[in-house]
Subunit: 345 residues, 2 copies
């Protein structure tokens, strides 16, 4: 018999949020720990395990977890490792799936990066239900992407496919990007990109703006949004600039996989028409005639506070990787659903 | 019992080539007709049928065809139609699969565009055997692409995915493209694109070149190749320019699907190191660090004279669409292998 829950874990740069999720995408209960409290990964996993077990006990769910899904920066679906997880304190080549599965006595674990997790969450519980071809774009501190084709997440031959925040949208004199190159989409259309655009506009231009009342080095995309909503012309133009670049980049993505929809997620996606109108206009103007008007641009339908955990959890239903444990291990032939959970330490 | 052959049909702007192909990718026999002889599509299909039947009889293969695969510009895998087949004389919305299947008494037919057919051929019989993730780029009069992810051709939600010749590589002041937009990869890196680059270079620059001995309006990519091979500096720089643009575009494609290989096919791909060296250099310099050195750029292993037919034929093995025919039709429950072939007219 299938167990009724999965565990979703979202490892962010600041917090690690985890939740118990049922088959309908309802987060039964959730909690979090600080990601950076332990510089040693084993100590981190110990604390994660302790806190998760506490949550499971509270919900009488210790033996009801079918699998664990984890979303984390640069986590690799194929290897179960975090490679070059630049925002995380544990260095490279972290055996994420293996160590978490071992801590939980062999419960199957699947991992992927946060944007792929968001795409899976959207497909399982959100705006992409019933869609076989779509692209998830996360507009946060960076620009992430999760691509779904024929109903499957695109991992590529090495597990790292779907880095659409790092297509080059400015070939000459582009902005430096965190990835070490120049001109990446992320350097323009992330929350930080919007703040950079604001600084550029304010330095180069002379027209008045309420943004000039803010210390230029501390301006955030939220400041730009607030100013634009209050009618500031320069702030509005920053969103037009951002939306146009996004729309042009989306036109190239459509030429690749002709998705039914591009789904936006993350703080910046909530800018409403300020961003969406110039984005859709530029996309329609830029896309190949054969695709014109076919690909919708829509917003995520997942509640932001739940979305990361939901996305990760959705991966838990299909998790297969099991660490060998010293505790009585489930036989290899035993179906995943019968794996003992929560009998540990 | 499975029938031993499929029929591959490649509908080009000038010739329609068809061949009988066995399961090992051997073209048993092939022939061709002129694509533009009939402006009425039904007349074209009549002649195609007559000539194919003649070839089948010659090879004692009238009842040995399991399916028919057709590659044609803008042919849609989902609908079986040719939409906007600009290079073809029959107008829009041609019911290609239906009419061919009907002419052949209900033999199952599958259609796709020529670049997808090339990708399927490469996967079935060529350089991509055993690869699950690769991109086929055809460098001919235009730039076409066929994308394979998880072992499946990417058709997108509407059947038109994989138009990588029409990603924008020059956002401002780009060359006009046949698709109606500006700055497309195809306008720079097709055979015609190379000829355009030659004309641009010759007009803008003053340095000597043997290309100046040719009427500038008649220069072809072959002329540029010959001049470069003979040591002409300007001609070599045209290939460097072309290769650099291709390599930069490939870097963005890698960020999308992280393929194991990008496979080049078509006349221009045979330019050897003239094109390949600047291409691979630019790709390695442009690609995100996480992908560097991982995606191979290799040449098609299909013999060019056979490749188009082979690619189309590979689709024939999985063809499912059957037109209803007035002749005694195979029962719906009858397996595809038992469909009568060649009993018509």
């Amino acid at each position: 018999m299938s167990k009724p829950y999965v565990l979703g874990i979202d490892i962010g740069g600041t917090n690690t949020v985890f939740g118990i999720v049922d088959a309908r995408g309802h987060v039964v209960s959730s909690d979090s720990i600080k990601t950076r409290k332990h510089s040693n990964f084993d100590d981190y996993v110990d604390e994660l395990h302790t806190e998760v077990m506490r949550l499971l006990k509270l919900n009488d769910a210790e033996d009801k977890i079918q699998g664990i899904g984890i979303g984390a920066p640069n986590a690799n679906y194929y290897t179960g490792m975090i490679d070059n997880g630049v925002n995380l304190p544990w260095g490279n080549n972290i055996a994420l799936a293996e160590k978490v599965s071992r801590a939980f006595n062999g419960v199957p674990v699947a991992v992927t990066n946060d944007a792929n997790a968001a795409a899976i969450g959207e497909m399982t519980y959100g705006a992409a239900r019933g869609m076989k071809d779509f692209i998830m774009i996360t507009l946060g501190t960076g620009v992430g992407s999760g691509i779904v084709i024929n109903g499957q997440v695109v991992y590529g031959h090495d597990g790292f496919a779907g880095e659409l925040g790092h297509v080059i949208i400015k070939r000459n004199n582009g902005r430096i990007c965190g990835c070490g190159r120049t001109g990446c989409l992320e350097a323009y259309c992330s929350a930080t990109g919007v703040a950079r655009t604001a600084r550029e506009f304010l330095e180069i231009r002379t027209d008045p703006s309420t943004l000039r009342d803010i210390d230029i080095d501390t301006i955030t995309s939220k400041d730009v949004y607030d100013a634009a909503m209050a009618g500031d012309k320069l702030a509005k133009e920053i969103f037009e600039y951002t939306g146009k670049i996004l729309g042009e980049a989306f036109a190239d993505m459509v030429a690749f996989s002709s998705p039914q929809a591009i789904i936006l997620f993350g703080g910046l996606s909530k800018s409403g028409d300020l961003l969406m109108r110039p984005l859709v206009d530029a996309m329609n103007a830029s896309v190949m005639p054969i695709f014109r008007g076919k690909t919708k641009v829509i917003l995520s339908e997942l509640k932001e506070s739940d979305a990361a955990v939901l996305g990760a959890s959705a991966l838990g239903w299909e998790a297969k990787y099991r660490a060998e444990t010293s505790a009585p291990a489930p036989a290899v032939v035993m179906p995943a659903a019968e794996a003992p959970v929560g009998e540990l330490s």
